[in-house]
Structures are given as structure tokens and as C-alpha cells.
């Protein structure tokens, strides 16, 4: 809302410099977007009431009006706020009879839904969407507006068009009440009907667009066809033009939700619609009409003929809200003097009467935001001043509950992964469908957004990997050869809803380049080590089995599980996938992704129990065998455990070899077995006997040959 400071001063005696006026209103809750000098030149405003010396102290202040205050999308509304803040009176503009315009005037009696007078017939066919419709007929001579009026519109950002349209816009800016002027002679049957659009009806609006109307849109029709989209924009056919002699002036109240819906559907936002959709004053239409007619007469553009037609089948009066003195203190934590409460509320246009424990406050219908006591307390607080409310620290009355272990686990994983060399990524939750598709496995599917911002943000991510890979590619394009990134976040599927994952991507060095040598690139087992570390952090034994899936290299991919529960995957990204991301060919990228929700369900919650340290020494034996290629180390270990006593405490593979000296199709594996008893020192003989049984079992089960 662009406010011309001198226009406001016409209504109050607030004589502050413009910068102070702006900050005064901002402290009342009207944020200042900009403060600019009045446009120079022939369009400089010349209002008739302008005081000497104002020239130097004028400006256009652009306020951001919050959605709850449509009444302040007007000069009068902001002037009322400024007057209240300075505790000075407000002078309202006048109507035809010289009375100040105030909707608090009488509440009218119910009328029929059709009223005809002096050559115009007005009918409300849908009183739900249009509870009130007032109109008047005027004889006019179309021409340019006087300079002062045109200039004020220009300063407020509204283009002057002709004297009649300009008057309706002037009233819109002044009172916040939108109006519309029809060329009466263009209205079939000289009728105005507020009704829903009929199927198939169209309207060419003032902006020249031909618009298809829908049956839940309210239109203003004449005897046959729509002439305006109610509250949004008039039609081109009945537009006021230089030859117009008679106008029908519309001043109505439309249901906010209906205007909002229609304006959105048509993609058409206007000064009128933005006011109607937030809620205009239902008791303003006749007052606004009289103000407009007064202005038409004042600028010599014409005069009203006949009566004001007011179709208002179910009049609404102001509501009364009780305000308790002690509740003000309860909510604000400070007391406000009765005289201040009274001055503030009266200044803002409320009728205040003393009541038990406080006041009974009559809320004018322009204040659509005030419906209960807390709303009034905010009014008092705003004009009392937030800075005058003290600061206090609330007492803690209950112990706080223990922290959520799921969040603690995420923090733990973040620390484990950063100490493993991974930096934390945060990626968008929505991704490109083509990027996401390869990572949808099994019978899962993607969750699309209804109206995505762009293709890039079309679906909710099914996996953290598309985002991580995009970030890897971003870094590879920016001279980073070695990239380790991880992310913890939510992923989505239509059946499973929201699930939390942890994932990482790793390309480049495992052991970084150093002047002493040592550069080694990442391989599968480096990545597996990180996954194992995640398992350790959560105290979960992870099991790795062969995996074939669409996006990992077969033979370098593993499914990760805990017992029988699948919890994730690990492996080398398929070259096709990394190339699709724009990663250099030849880059090996290793990725892993684990289901954090599943891990949370499985993770033990009991405290660790410390074990007694061993009191007896251990005995170590190495064994080297040659076995069939393809035989999994896991199976060898199972066989060994199957025949060894409890004293076998560890099996470790320490060498694996293929090639010279080993028959084709076989490999050699060296294992180190550690034995220890909790209650005695083991002898060589104890262990020797076990080793023989182990070798025998390996030979029997796996045709192993000792080297």
C-alpha cells in the first residue's frame, strides 16, 4: 500500500517528518518496504487542502499490510492508526451531505433480493457469495480528472484513466472500498444481477483477455450475459468510455473466499480482488457510494440521479467483545492504565462501554480481524508499545523429558562420519524424476509433487543418493578430485511414507596424496569399513551378502542386513549412473545407503556392560589354505566356528592371494586364529588338537588344501 504522506496529514494532525511517520507506523505493525520522494514534474500532487510547507515534508511510503488488516489498505485506515498512536483525532472525508464517511452509521433493515429504482434493477441471485450489493445511477461527462486527483493516484501507483474510473480508484485508495462503474446503456435491460456464472459462459475483461468462467465464480451480469467478474475485474463491453453518458456505480460486498478462489483460478490479481479476498467492510458500500458521488460532483464530472439502491437481505451489525482488565495483565505481563485502554480503543474506532471487570467493546465491521478478547489485547499492546512491556524469564515448573534417542543416534553418526573423512551434505528433498528413477527398487515407486516448481524438483526423493551424486558431480567439476560426502535425511515412497536414511558417496583417494607417497584410491572395502563403523556406532552386527541391483556394479555390491532384516546397500556405482551425472568416465564412486528407521528399531537401548579383562594369555595359530574361487570367507569362518571350542575368540583373514603357484580357479587364504580360555592358560597341545580338527573340517566341507 503506497501512502502519500500529505494525503494522510489531510485526515489527522500528525505533523511528524515523513521518516518519523514511517517508523511510527512500522512500530504499530505496518512494515515499511520503501520511502521515496514524491514523483517530480507536472504530476506532482496539488491537493486543494495542502498546507504550506508540506512540500518539503512529503513522501510516498510503501507499507506492507499484513493479511489481517484489509482496513489499512487505505489512507483512512493508516491515518486512524497514526492518529491513535499520537493520540490525536481523525478527520474522516465527507459524503454528498457533508457528513463524515463512517460505516458505523446506522445498520439498515433487511431488503428484498431485488430492488429497482430510477431506471436500474439490481438482483442478488446468490446471497452467499454476494451478501450486499449497492448501486446508483449518475449522469456523467467523461473527461480527464483534475490534476490534483490524477496526481494522487499516480503517487499511489495507480494510472489515471478518466474522471469516473479515477473517482472509483480514489475511493478505493482513500477508504479501501473497491467500486466499479458500468456504462448503464450497455447493460441489457438496465439490470445488474449478482449470480454464479453459467456453464460455458465467457467474458472479455478490461485487460482484453477472453476468459472462460466456471460455475462457482460469481459474476455481475446484465439481463443476459456476464459484465464483470465480481470483485476481480469488469468486462470490456460495459466499460466506461469517452461516449458514456449514464453510469451504474457498483459498491458491493463479496464473500472473501469466493473472490480469492476466483482470482486464483483466473490468475488475475487486482487492487479490488486483493481487498475483497481479505474482507472488506460489509457496511461500507452505501457510504462509499455516497463518497464517490460527492467526489463526482466536486470535480464536475456529473451527478447522481435517483436513489441509492441497496440490496442487503441479511444485514450484519457490529459484534460486541468483552475485554477484562485483569486478562490484559495476564497476557501481557504488565498493566495498562484504564485511560490508555480507552484512548487506544476509541481512537481505533471501537465503541467502548464500561462493564464489570473491564469493558464491553463494539467492533466496527471494518475490523474483520477482531473477533475475541485476545484480538483486543493485541490492539492495546500495539498502541501501548511492545517496548514498554518488560522482559521476564519464565519459571521452569517441570523437569524436561529425556532426549530423543533417535536424534542422539543421528548426532553420533554425524560425528562418526565426519571423523571418517566425510563432510555433511544437505540436498533438496525434491529431485528430478529421471535422476530419481534408477534408485527406485523393488515394488516401490515415486511420490510426485502436484505442481512442481520445475522438472528439477518434480518428485520427492526415494533415496539420498541422487542428491549426493549431484553434489559429487558439482565438486568434481570444481577441481575436487577426492570427494567424501554423507547425508542424513528423509526419503519417501507412496506406500512407506517418510523414512529416514543415512547415505554416503566416496570417490578419489582413500589415503590422500602425501610427499611421503601413499596415495591410494578408494575401493569397495574402504567403503565397507565405513558401513561397519556405522554398525559399531549403533552396536548392531551387520551382515553383508551378494547383491544385484540396477545402479551398482554386479560383483562389487552388497546387501546389508541385521539378522533377517534388510537395512541397506553398499557398492560401486554403475559407470552408466556416474556418467549420467556428468562424472568423468573412469571415476570409481562408492556409495552406501542405510535405513535409519530400521536401524533405530533394532538398535539395543540397554547400557553397555563392561567385561572383565582376560587373566590368561592367548595363543595364536596361522593356517594357509587353497580353496575354490567364489567360496565366501563367511562360509569358511562358519565351518571353523562349527568345530572349534569356545576358546576360539577371533578369526582374522590376513592374506589373500591368487596367481603364480596357485591353480587356476582357486585362491589361497591365510587365516589367523586366536585362542584363549577365561580360566586357565591354554597349552600347545590343546590348540594343536583343535587346529587338526579345523583343517579336517575345511577339507571335508570345502575341499581346502593346506599350503
Amino acid at each position: 500500500m503506497k501512502l502519500l504522506a500529505s494525503w494522510l496529514r489531510e485526515l489527522t494532525d500528525v505533523r511528524l517528518p515523513v521518516a518519523d511517520l514511517a517508523s511510527l507506523l512500522s512500530m504499530c505493525g505496518f512494515e515499511v518496504a520503501s520511502l521515496d520522494p514524491v514523483p517530480e514534474g507536472p504530476l506532482a500532487p496539488r491537493p486543494p487542502t495542502r498546507a504550506a510547507g508540506d512540500d518539503a515534508n512529503d513522501a510516498v511510503i510503501d507499507f506492507e499490510i499484513t493479511a489481517n488488516r484489509p482496513d489499512c489498505l487505505s489512507v483512512v485506515g493508516l491515518a486512524r492508526e497514526a492518529a491513535t498512536a499520537c493520540r490525536v483525532p481523525l478527520r474522516l472525508p465527507w459524503d454528498e451531505a457533508g457528513r463524515p464517511i463512517s460505516s458505523v452509521r446506522a445498520v439498515s433493515a433487511p431488503t428484498p433480493t431485488r430492488v429497482a429504482a430510477d431506471g436500474l434493477e439490481v438482483t442478488i441471485e446468490d446471497a452467499d457469495l454476494c451478501p450486499r450489493y449497492a448501486a446508483a445511477v449518475a449522469e456523467v461527462t467523461i473527461g480527464p480528472s483534475p490534476e490534483w486527483l490524477a496526481n494522487r493516484l499516480t503517487a499511489a501507483g495507480v494510472r489515471p484513466i478518466n474522471n469516473i474510473v479515477d473517482v472509483t480508484n480514489y475511493v478505493l485508495l482513500e477508504m479501501g472500498h473497491p467500486m466499479h462503474a458500468f456504462d448503464l446503456e450497455r447493460l441489457a435491460g438496465r439490470q445488474l444481477r449478482a449470480r454464479r456464472a453459467r456453464a460455458g459462459e465467457r467474458l472479455r475483461t478490461l485487460d482484453g483477455e477472453d476468459r472462460a468462467l466456471e460455475p462457482d465464480m460469481l459474476v455481475i451480469a446484465d439481463g443476459s450475459v456476464p459484465q464483470a467478474v465480481a470483485g476481480v475485474m469488469g468486462g470490456a463491453h460495459s466499460e466506461v468510455w469517452p461516449g458514456t453518458r449514464l453510469i451504474a456505480l457498483e459498491s458491493a460486498y463479496f464473500k472473501p473466499a469466493s473472490v480469492r478462489r476466483t482470482s486464483k483460478r483466473l490468475g488475475l490479481k487486482t487492487e479490488a480482488s486483493s481487498r475483497f479476498e481479505r474482507g472488506t467492510d460489509i457496511n461500507a458500500p452505501v457510504v462509499a457510494l455516497e463518497r464517490a458521488c460527492a467526489l463526482i460532483e466536486q470535480i464536475g464530472a456529473g451527478r447522481r440521479v435517483g436513489a441509492v439502491i441497496d440490496v442487503y437481505p441479511s444485514p450484519r451489525g457490529p459484534i460486541d467483545v468483552t475485554l477484562r482488565r485483569q486478562r490484559i495483565a495476564q497476557l501481557l505481563g504488565t498493566t495498562v492504565a484504564d485511560a490508555d485502554v480507552l484512548a487506544i480503543l476509541t481512537g481505533l474506532g471501537f465503541d467502548v462501554a464500561e462493564a464489570a471487570d473491564g469493558w464491553s467493546v463494539r467492533v466496527p465491521t471494518m475490523r474483520v480481524d477482531i473477533v475475541r478478547e485476545a484480538d483486543l489485547i493485541e490492539e492495546v499492546a500495539r498502541h501501548h508499545g511492545y517496548d514498554r512491556i518488560p522482559s521476564h524469564f519464565p519459571a521452569l515448573r517441570a523437569t524436561s523429558p529425556r532426549p530423543d534417542p533417535r536424534m542422539a543416534r543421528k548426532t553420533l553418526l554425524r560425528h562418526r562420519l565426519t571423523s571418517s573423512g566425510f563432510s555433511e551434505a544437505v540436498s533438496y528433498t525434491f529431485v528430478d524424476e529421471a535422476d530419481a528413477a534408477p534408485f527406485v527398487t523393488g515394488d516401490r515407486a515415486l511420490v510426485p509433487l502436484a505442481y512442481p516448481l520445475s522438472e528439477k524438483f518434480a518428485v520427492l526423493r526415494p533415496s539420498l543418493l541422487p542428491g549426493l551424486l549431484e553434489s559429487v558431480a558439482h565438486n568434481r567439476r570444481r577441481e575436487h578430485r577426492d570427494v567424501r560426502l554423507f547425508e542424513i535425511g528423509a526419503c519417501f515412497s507412496p506406500a512407506g511414507g517418510e523414512q529416514h536414511h543415512v547415505a554416503f558417496a566416496w570417490t578419489g583417494a582413500c589415503v590422500p596424496e602425501h610427499w611421503s607417497g601413499g596415495l591410494r584410491l578408494v575401493d569397495f572395502f574402504d567403503a565397507k569399513g565405513v558401513v561397519e563403523r556405522i554398525g559399531e556406532a549403533l552396536d548392531l552386527p551387520l551382515v553383508f551378502t551378494d547383491l544385484t541391483n540396477g545402479y551398482l556394479v554386479a560383483g562389487r555390491a552388497a546387501a546389508v542386513s541385521v539378522g533377517k532384516t534388510a537395512v541397506g546397500v553398499l557398492g560401486q556405482l554403475a559407470p552408466g549412473q556416474s556418467e549420467a551425472r556428468g562424472l568423468p568416465a573412469g571415476d570409481e564412486v562408492y556409495v552406501a545407503e542405510l535405513d535409519l528407521d530400521a536401524l533405530d528399531r533394532l538398535a539395543p537401548t540397554a547400557d553397555t556392560r563392561a567385561e572383565t579383562l582376560p587373566r590368561f594369555p592367548s595363543i595364536v595359530r596361522d593356517i594357509s589354505i587353497v580353496v575354490e574361487e567364489g567360496l565366501r570367507s563367511e562360509r569358511l569362518r562358519a565351518t571353523i566356528r562349527g568345530v572349534a571350542p569356545q576358546t576360539l575368540i577371533q578369526i582374522r583373514e590376513f592374506d589373500r592371494y591368487k596367481g603364480q603357484g596357485i591353480p587356476e580357479g582357486r585362491y589361497s587364504l591365510s587365516l589367523r586364529l586366536t585362542f584363549r580360555s577365561p580360566d586357565r592358560t591354554l597349552t600347545d597341545a590343546d590348540v594343536q588338537e583343535t587346529m587338526e580338527r579345523v583343517m579336517e573340517a575345511l577339507t571335508r566341507e570345502h575341499q581346502a588344501v593346506q599350503r
Binding site: M27, G29, T66, A67, N68, R260, E277, Q330, L331, L332, G333, T334, R372, A374, I377, E378, A381, Y386, D387, I389, P390, H392, F393, P394, L396, A398, S400, D404, M407, T411, R414, T418, S419, G421, F422, A425, V426, S427, Y428, T429, F430, P448, A450, P452, L453, L460, S471, N475, R478, D482, V483, R484, L485, F492, P494, G497, E498, P512, H514, W515
Partner: protein, 364 residues
């Protein structure tokens, strides 16, 4: 004849010789000269002492022995120090870089998040996350934004192409729930604010309530310097008997003083949120210009930092609280906003590019 003066002169001589001996060999020469069995300074001294008069002998003997011990001690110490200072074969260039185990960096948003969590945990708040997909009731309606409410435009929403079940949400937080669970509703949108968690928590628990909900939120903004369609928010809620606007001011002032600076200036200004009444926006003195006015604060000297207000009675009523007995306040802001002000980041998109050159700057 030797006397005390003579011994003192020899001591000065020894110290000069010792100071000049920079190698093992030179040290050996000094040792021979002073401690040599034949013709050594000490040997001659002892001989002379033996032939001194019986009256002088005890004192001279003591001084001579003291001097001998002193020489032996000084020579040993000097040898040890020469030995330790000697480089081993193939000494190192200690100016070469060390060998480091690669270390990753937490995202700056996580740093801010951890600080926010720590501050409010200490104030007794329970820290919560919540679902990123929500239903209309929790995101809007229960927060005093019925369908067609104009305030819904303030938070232009991403809707899902199909309803998605909410699974395993359970009771928010770790407090035992004393209230019947509300019906599960399928999610239809991406939450536009973390305020939705206020409702979920209050549905499950009786007052007093002290929570901070933290996480991602989504609004239909095209990416630019200050907007992204996804960002992070934290949102606090305190509901209890006798909670006032003064408590809100005190709590938020304590928070910004801890996260920014202990002497930062604050200002509260009226604003509008559908779920608070009265509503307030909190400003801090500009962290870039110190309040004198600069482009970042649009020359006002103030930066908007938090939205807040007293919980709207309709919100309390929507979750079945007695809005006469209980009052409360709520507040919230973007974590990106705090991070941008704290770290001087001028483009919000940097937070989502995951450029290591950016992430590696936050190494604390």
C-alpha cells in the same frame, strides 16, 4: 700456595673453557686439562693442598673437593646436552606437512542447529523433529488457518500428487502421552512450517509444554539469493499457567544474546501470524553495521530475526486445552537466516550446493 682466591680464578678459567667447548672432542680436552690424573689442574691443586699448613688444610681441602665435584657435574651435563642435540642419521625436514587422517566437516546448518538445540535444552525445552510431509489439518487448520484463509497465501504450499500414509509417527518426543491418540491422516502436502509439530505435541500431551521443533520446511519460492523452495526452521512453544508476553520477550532476548552477542540490541514490533495473538516480530541490531545502517539492514540498523507471539486461543482450543487457564508463546525462524547472519553468508543457495570449498570453511 693455593688459596681461596686461586680456586676462584681456576673456576672462572674452567667456565670459560667449558663454554667454548662445542663438540665432544673439545669437551674431552677440557676434561683432560682439569681432571687429568697427571698434570691436571685438580690433581695439582690436590697436591698443593696436601702440602699446605695444617691450619689452612681443612678449608682448602673442602673448597678443592667442591670445585672438583662441580667440574665433574658440569662436564657430565654438557656431554648429555651435546648428545641430545645431535641429529640422528638422516635428520628430517620438520617444515614438511604432516600426515593427516582425512576429516570431514559438519554442515554449517548443523552447527547452528546444534547451538540452538543446546541453548533451548538448557532452558528445559524438549527438542523434536517431525514429519516433513503433513496433512492440511496439522499444517493449517488447527493453526487457525481454515480453508481459503488469506494467510495461506503467505506460505504458498507444495501439494503431493497423491496422499501418502504417515507411518510410525507415534507420540512426538519421549514424554509419556496421557491423551488419546488422534486419528492418523494421510499426508497431502510438504509442511510449510515446523508449527505443525506444535499441534502434534499438544494433541499428545497436557500442559506444561516446552518444545522446540526443528527441521526442513517447504514453500513455493524460486531459488535466488535469499530464497530456496526448501529451508530449515526451528519453532519453539511454551504453554503453561501464567505465561505472558513478558516471558516471550525474556526468553527470546536470552536466545539471541547467546547465539549472536551478549550485548546485542533487540526490538519487538507488532506483526501478524494466524496462530498467535498478539504477534510480534523480533529484530536485532544489525550484525554487519552495528546499527548505523548498511545495505543488508536496508539502512534501518535492524535485522528481522524471529517471528513470535502469544499462542492464539483458537489453537489451544483446537487441541482441547483450557484457553482461560493456559497461555503460551511460540516463536520461530529460519536456520539459514541465523547461519547467514552469524557466518556472513550472502547467498542462501550455497547451503544446498554442498561445495566442499564452502563446507570446509566450517571446521569447528
Amino acid at each position: 700456595m693455593p688459596d681461596a682466591e686461586e680456586i676462584e680464578r681456576l673456576r672462572v678459567e674452567f667456565q670459560a673453557a667449558l663454554a667454548a667447548a662445542a663438540t665432544d672432542q673439545a669437551l674431552r680436552v677440557v676434561r683432560d686439562r682439569f681432571l687429568g690424573r697427571k698434570g691436571g689442574v685438580i690433581a695439582s691443586l690436590m697436591k698443593a693442598v696436601a702440602s699446605a699448613s695444617p691450619a689452612d688444610r681443612p678449608l682448602l681441602g673442602m673448597l678443592a673437593n667442591q670445585f672438583k665435584n662441580e667440574i665433574e657435574g658440569a662436564l657430565d651435563a654438557r656431554r648429555a646436552s651435546l648428545e641430545s642435540g645431535r641429529p640422528v642419521a638422516g635428520g628430517l625436514d620438520v617444515t614438511l606437512p604432516g600426515r593427516q587422517v582425512p576429516l570431514g566437516h559438519l554442515h554449517p546448518l548443523t552447527h547452528v542447529r546444534h547451538q540452538v538445540e543446546a541453548i533451548f535444552s538448557r532452558m528445559g525445552y524438549e527438542i523434536l523433529e517431525g514429519p516433513e510431509i503433513e496433512d492440511d489439518y496439522h499444517n493449517f487448520e488447527a493453526l487457525n488457518m481454515p480453508p481459503e484463509h488469506p494467510a495461506r497465501d503467505m506460505q504458498d504450499t507444495f501439494f503431493l500428487g497423491q496422499p501418502v500414509p504417515q507411518r510410525g509417527l507415534g507420540t512426538p518426543g519421549t514424554r509419556v502421552s496421557t491423551r488419546p491418540a488422534p486419528p492418523d491422516r494421510p499426508a497431502t502436502l510438504l509442511r510449510t512450517h515446523t508449527s505443525a509439530m506444535q499441534i502434534r505435541y499438544m494433541e499428545a500431551h497436557e500442559p506444561p509444554v516446552r518444545i522446540v521443533a526443528i527441521g526442513k520446511v517447504f514453500r513455493r519460492d524460486n531459488p535466488d539469493l535469499t530464497h530456496t523452495p526448501m529451508f530449515h526452521q526451528f519453532e519453539g512453544l511454551l504453554v503453561d499457567e501464567r505465561v505472558t508476553f513478558a516471558d516471550l520477550k525474556g526468553t527470546l532476548t536470552a536466545f539471541v544474546r547467546e547465539i549472536f552477542a551478549p550485548d546485542i540490541k533487540v526490538m519487538f514490533r507488532p506483526s501478524f501470524f494466524p496462530y498467535t495473538e498478539p504477534s510480534a516480530e523480533m529484530f536485532i541490531g544489525c550484525v554487519f553495521c552495528g546499527g548505523t545502517g548498511c545495505p543488508v539492514c536496508k539502512r534501518t540498523g535492524w535485522l528481522e530475526i524471529l517471528g513470535s507471539g502469544m499462542v492464539h486461543p483458537s489453537v489451544l482450543e483446537a487441541v482441547g486445552y483450557d484457553a482461560e487457564r493456559y497461555t503460551g508463546f511460540a516463536f520461530g525462524t529460519g536456520i539459514e537466516r541465523v547461519a547467514m547472519l552469524k557466518y556472513g553468508v550472502d547467498d542462501i543457495r550455497l547451503f544446498y550446493e554442498n561445495d566442499l570449498r564452502f563446507l570446509e570453511q566450517f571446521s569447528f
